[in-house]
């Protein structure tokens, strides 16, 4: 819980407090220096302070991941709900579409999209968002299918509820636990996907700081300066861990059964 709030806090406030040039200021004399008093977390191959870069990179990484997952939710949630609830031909058509997208590895799909659209922040979000949609849609469809067959949905239907009402007030709340957990896991994967895209040169463009980019840059110096990889790596790991725990907590809080 605290972990997630810390990360979000950093992502929002670090850019307001730390001037952006702190993260890009190079100092060739202190390149690849281990953590010390001057540079708390050491410096990278260009002598940039890793502490500032991690702090400022949080905004890029978290921002891209959140927007991408939101985007895949906006497309995937209605798609899955409609598909699972109505079934039949609607389901067949929609799911074949989703299957087509699923047949490409997510990262490859994201890679293609961002290669076609050109590498920039907005396109990275679109690329990751689209690539993640089919997974979410598939999952939501399965859940919606299950919930639609529950007696309480049938009971509500026989008491005159319209389809829209059934979907919104009966199906949706009951699939939310799965959606929440899956979304937080997706957030973690989105951070990694952004790192992957940046690593391949299609995500965030240097000198802008992002965790993925930092990991990418560190690969040539692993033997001499392992902290260049460890610092952004730990940031990613902590965030992912925090998000997973956060998802579980959120699910429990929203479930009336967990309160007694």
């Amino acid at each position: 819980m605290t972990l997630v709030f810390c990360v979000i806090f950093i992502a929002i406030f670090a850019p307001l407090i730390i001037p952006p040039e702190f993260a890009t200021r190079m100092d060739m004399r202190t390149r690849l220096s281990p953590p010390d008093m001057a540079h708390w977390l050491g410096t990278d191959q260009l002598g940039r302070d890793l502490f500032y870069r991690v702090m400022l990179g949080a905004k890029t990484s978290i921002g891209i991941a959140t927007s991408a997952v939101l985007m895949s939710l906006v497309i995937g949630l209605p798609l899955g709900l409609i598909s699972g609830y109505f079934g039949g031909h609607t389901d067949n058509v929609l799911m074949r579409l989703v299957d087509t997208l699923l047949s490409f590895p997510a990262l490859l799909l994201a890679l293609t999209i961002s290669a076609v659209l050109g590498p920039n922040l907005q396109n990275t979000i679109i690329a990751i968002g689209v690539a993640f949609t089919p997974y979410l849609a598939r999952l939501i469809r399965g859940e919606a299918l299950r919930v639609s067959q529950m007696p309480y949905v049938e009971a509500a239907r026989s008491s005159g509820a319209t389809n829209i009402r059934l979907i919104i007030s009966h199906v949706l709340p009951n699939i939310m636990p799965v959606v929440i957990v899956q979304s937080t896991i997706s957030l973690a994967f989105a951070i990694l996907a952004e790192a992957g895209l940046s690593f391949l040169g299609l995500g965030t463009q240097p000198p802008e700081a992002s965790w993925g980019l930092m990991i990418q840059a560190s690969r040539d110096y692993l033997d001499r300066a392992p902290w260049t990889a460890l610092v952004p790596g730990t940031a990613v790991a902590l965030t992912v861990l925090g998000l997973n725990m956060f998802g579980d907590v959120l699910r429990d809080v929203l479930d009336p059964r967990s309160k007694s």
Binding site: M150, P151, E154, R157, G160, A161, P256
Partner: protein
């Protein structure tokens, strides 16, 4: 049914030293820091050749007791915190199961103690053949060769009277019917000739005819092998049929223990009396024409609506004519429709205002599909449904929605039929809002009124379903159904998931509401005794067809169709002096209702026995 079982006294004479004796057993469960006492100081014995029935409602600790005997309770988070469980082993050795080590327990489980579980669907592993499942235990506990175990497995299948045992060995569980599967489970439990057989609600999930077969099988095996049987059930009628002695449990405590005759004829404790009174007995209503409330001793005398108010008001409310509902079966690589399940075949009946019509039959007979077809929750293929002069099948979606105000449904499982994420007030208010029947200010008053009608405290309004017991939830489901003032309520096995005492209360509530509001019920149930209690009219369904229909007394006192008679014969009677479960009951298995596409079923021909009493002749 001519060969009556030996009188009970004969078996009870042979009782020797106990096979298992429980001595002040205590079992606790640890949950979130607090300790729940599941079994509190229970002592009883089971001797060889004796059946002891452990009876109680949900939460009474009866299953926990049986799991403790197998020391399986520890896998579910329970802990034996006191007492002894002495098992007399082969020879004269005695072992205290409460302190036995894991390897001792492994040599006892499935070997000296066999266990039968409730669900034959899930207690067999779907990926192994019957042979593999049967021989597993044998290979573990004996050193027979592969061929010998195979022979032994065949012998076991013959022993539990499974037809075609050679063929069955190669089959997988899903290829067998529910009754057949339970026979396999029993064969597995019997494989190593256990000294004690624990049967935990072995027939609860089965149809009555199959239940009768399984009960008679257990009785026969007990007589042939002389094993001790610990039979766990909630059904007093089954107790009356099976038990030599009875142990009554309530909330982890032993309430009463005695011979089956004593428990039934002279129960000492109030709880036992209440339990017995709550069970509707088949044949109890002979000579009456109208439904009657059940007596619930101990509860404040409910204002008994006089029998007159349960009289029907006359005039047809619902007419069902030649209703046909089929479900497609898809197969082949192209997922084409290859066959149809003929769920409802040419069913016709009429329900009058204020009348309860019951549909009875075994699982898969189409009674639920029939109810759902009337609401058009499934689309019927043809036929006519006329409710209040409105032709339901020709309505478009919008008109259907408003027509449903007149007919509401109560479902079987009170745990699944309420939305876990909605407060009770919202759930009950939803139909009102859907039909736009009341303004915001009126809704509150109506809901309060309804909650009082179904006897629920108003403090429940803001609760969520999980905070309620099964019976309370079913009251909410009833409230939701009647809040829009329907004229017809379809109840699909509405009380079969409830404990008997709760079942009696809910049945009484339904009958009182009927008297008060002039409701008509289509009461779908498999329980003949309950049906006899509540209905004016009864339809018996078999393979999608209505095989016999008539007034309650016509059906129950003068059953004409072969199937109706078989169904009645299979219902256990809650009286130990009238044991009707005989040695080897074998009913005709129900054929498959799946027919190829284009199959034309013959027109039903009914013969009228008396006015209103029809039986199917083809």
């Amino acid at each position: 049914m001519n060969n009556t079982p030996p009188p009970i006294s004969e078996t009870s004479l042979k009782i020797e030293e106990p096979v298992i004796s429980l001595d002040h057993l205590r079992v606790e469960f640890e949950t979130d820091g607090s300790t729940v006492l599941a079994v509190n100081d229970i002592s009883f014995k089971v001797s060889a050749g004796e059946t002891v029935c452990l009876v109680g409602e949900s939460g009474s600790g009866k299953s926990v007791t049986s799991l403790s005997l197998m020391r399986l309770v520890e896998f579910g988070g329970g802990k034996i915190t006191g007492g002894r469980m002495l098992l007399a082993r082969e020879g004269s050795e005695t072992v205290n199961l409460a302190e036995a080590g894991t390897s001792t327990m492994r040599s006892i489980r499935g070997n000296e103690i066999g266990m039968i579980f409730q669900e034959p669907m899930t207690s067999l592993n779907p990926v192994f053949t019957i042979e593999r499942q049967l021989t597993d235990g044998l290979r573990l506990h004996t050193n027979l060769s592969a061929n010998e175990t195979r022979e032994k497995a065949l012998e076991l299948l013959r022993e539990v009277r499974i037809p075609d045992p050679e063929k069955r060995l190669r089959q997988y569980p899903h290829e067998l019917s529910g009754g057949m599967r339970q026979r396999v489970v029993i064969a597995m439990a019997m494989a190593c000739r256990p000294r004690l057989l624990i049967a935990d609600e072995p027939t609860t999930a089965l149809d009555v005819t199959i239940q009768a077969e399984i009960l008679s099988l257990i009785n026969r095996l007990k007589r042939e092998t002389g094993m001790a049987v610990l039979f766990i059930t909630h059904d007093m009628a089954v107790v009356a049929q099976m038990a030599d002695r009875v142990v009554v449990m309530y909330q982890g405590n032993l309430i009463e223990e005695g011979t089956v005759e004593n428990i039934f004829s002279a129960p000492k404790e109030d709880y036992t009396k209440a339990l017995l009174a709550a069970v509707p007995q088949l044949g109890q209503m002979a000579g009456t024409t109208l439904p009657k409330l059940l007596d619930i001793p101990g509860s404040p005398a409910t204002p008994n609506p006089s029998l007159k108010t349960l009289e029907t008001k006359g005039g047809a409310l619902l007419e069902v004519k030649n209703l046909v509902t089929r479900f497609p079966v898809y197969g082949g690589i192209f997922r084409r429709k290859v066959a149809n399940v003929h769920a409802v075949e040419n069913v016709s009946f009429t329900i009058n205002r204020g009348e309860t019509m019951a549909l009875v039959g075994e699982s898969g007979c189409g009674k639920s599909s029939c109810g759902r077809s009337i609401l058009r929750l499934v689309e019927p293929e043809s036929g006519e449904i006329i409710l209040n002069d409105k032709k339901i099948l020709s309505l478009n979606e919008r008109d259907l929605r408003s027509a449903r105000r007149e007919m509401q449904m109560v479902f079987q499982d009170p745990f699944a039929s309420l939305n876990p994420y909605m407060r009770l007030r919202e759930q009950v208010a939803e139909p009102l809002n859907n039909f736009g029947l009341a303004s915001k200010s009126e809704v509150d008053d109506i809901i309060r009124d309804i909650f009082e009608k179904v006897e629920l405290p108003l403090s429940f309004l803001r609760r969520f379903p999980h905070e309620l017991s099964g019976g309370q939830r079913q009251r909410v489901a009833i409230a939701r159904a009647i809040v829009v003032n329907p004229s017809l309520v379809i109840t699909d096995e509405a009380v079969s998931a409830l404990d008997v005492s709760v079942q009696a209360q809910v049945l009484n509530l339904m009958m009182s509401l009927q008297a008060e509001l002039g409701l008509s019920y289509l009461f779908i149930s498999h329980d003949m005794a309950v049906v006899e209690r509540v209905s004016h009219k009864v339809g018996v369904m078999y393979l999608g067809k209505l095989v016999e229909v008539g007034s309650r007394s016509q059906i129950f006192e003068n059953p004409q169709h072969e199937y109706t008679r078989a169904l009645m014969a299979a219902v256990p009677i809650a009286d130990p002096n009238k044991r009707n479960i005989s040695n080897d009951m074998n009913f005709k298995p129900i054929p498959s209702p799946v027919f190829p596409v284009g199959h034309i079923s013959e027109e039903p021909e009914y013969e009228q026995i008396e006015p209103g009493h029809l039986i199917l002749r083809n």
